[in-house]
Amino acid sequence: MLRYVASKFFYMLVSLFILISATFFLMKAIPGDPFMGEKKPSPEILARLMEQYDLDKPVFQQYTKYLGNIAQGDFGLSMKQQNQSVTDIITDTFGPSLRLGLIAIVVAVIVGVLLGMLAALYHRRLIDSAAMILSVLGIAVPSFVLASLLQYVLAEKAGIFNVMGFDSPLDYVLPVMALSAQPIAFIARLTRSSMLEVLHSDYIKTAKAKGLNWMAIMFRHVIRNGILPVVTYVGPMTANIITGSVVIEQIFGIGGIGKQFVDSITNRDYTVIMGITIFYGILLMLARFMTDIAYAVVDPRIKLDGGKEG
């Protein structure tokens, strides 16, 4: 087990290193310097700026310094927002995004599993078809389309919610709906197919033959085994929520890290783009790492010794 965790952790670090290096060298590949705007600064100011951002040093030296700074959680200074460090920008804007993302994940897991279970229990019945149609729609409709639609129908026309803003608990409803729709669809499909498999397996027949009551069968056997594949989806779901939040925050005017990311792309604020990219990368890799561990813990059948094919 320890070896398994260690090897997964090692590969996570390698991936992270590649992401950071790729980010750094791609940014260096941009022609010109970041201070070429409409107003050209005077040579003295330019020299000072270059010094402040370490741009006067050789590229390799900049690279090692950047790596060292990141290890200490320092992503440098923003190039467009005066005297703002990228780390401060990230910590300031991460709060709303984290709250929104966590709620969306919880909603997605609960609703998705319930929907999938209902569909499996009422296999080939009306509930099953309805759930599957919903899930196909959920996968097909891009989150930003759904978000705009919800905003138009429920906020603008029906007036139930605020169009923009993120203050009262009611303001969470629309963004969470838009963000969790796709994960709900995936989880419902995963749960349904694995539950169907479990329901038709021999040990459920045995449990029924023993005369175990329905509730006991459901909770002791079916649900436990049926939601296993959902664990594997936690990594991709995190990626999905992060990508989704980038546009959802824009649409609902939520001042989170996703909106900051889009703004920095629009303003070409390179240090902020780099910082948030790496921050997102760390989040996603951690989520994937934890998924691997969780899956190994939940499913004893998984091979822990590094995957020699038997």
């Binding site: 590969y11 996570m12 390698v14 991936s15 590649i18 992401l19 790729a22 980010t23 791609l26 940014m27 590949a29 941009i30 196909v136 729609l137 996968i139 097909a140 409709v141 891009p142 930003f144 389309v145 705009s148 639609l149 138009y152 603008e156 169009v163 197919s193 169907l196 990626a239 992060i242 990508t243 980038v246 546009v247 649409i251 889009v262 792309i265 629009t266 070409r268 390179y270 783009i273 990219t277 997102y280 990368g281 996603l284 890799m285 994937r288």
Partner: protein, 316 residues
Amino acid sequence: MASDSTTSGTAWDNLQPEDFKKIGMDEKQSEIIQRESLSAWRDSWERLRKNKLAMTGLVIMILILIMAIIGPMISNYDYETNDLMNTNMPPSGEHWFGTDDLGRDVFVRTWMGARISLTVGLAAAAIDLMIGVIYGGLMGYFGGRIDEFMNKFAEILYSIPYLLVTILLLVVFEPSLGTIILALTITGWINMSWIVRGEIMQLKNREYVLAARSMGAGTGRLLFRHLIPNAMGPIIVTLTLSVPNAIFAESFLSFLGLGVQAPVASWGSMINDALSGWMYYPWRMLFPALFISLTMLAFNIFGDGLRDALDPKLKK
């Protein structure tokens, strides 16, 4: 007996030996196959054809493809000419889908956008297919050390979030159709290569492979004549399902302003443009949003149907 009164027509009770006739048995006749023989592809097609949902998906795909080709031709307008006298017009006989904030015809732009979105989707999927099949084929075929090394490389690449890499690339390089497709394929092929790898690993121990090898077939011939054609089912399904992913990714990038640049339209950039005024001019958002959803829906349900048709064992 009283049998005459109970049975009319044939009197089964009264059969005499003369009523029977020897017809013999022709062994050749018994070997003749009565039903037309179906190839595996025909068989799958028959199954697919009975799947109404999948066929609906196929029809929608074809209709959208046709409209993408002829849509811009059947309108009197082009996609880039501004008409500042007629901005934000609702749909009418003049402009079927209305006009946008610069007076451009939304109908034409929607179908020009379809061209861009479909091009990106299909081209990205095609490149993924080529790289994925070769890389995955080699992994599966050689196995052992080579497989382990190639697989680790793919795994590391895969663990870097692809949208972040894509965004980075497009921040650095000027967004154009080419760079968008390139950026999408940098990590897009990995999934395909794993599918191919798994299939090849299962197939390479079959007898027909041994037979081909004993007749002197080399690596290339074994891989491309024997192994990959037999793995075609899962490859096609993966291909079908990767098209909507690429279409979504393109629209997402356009939404961030990293897609094709104005005046060229894509569904994502049209939705992005429409966002600010969409409360007042819903048609500007409605049409691109509707068609991108329809396209993704069609590819998804067709892909699902294809999977069921190509591998009946999987169907529950």
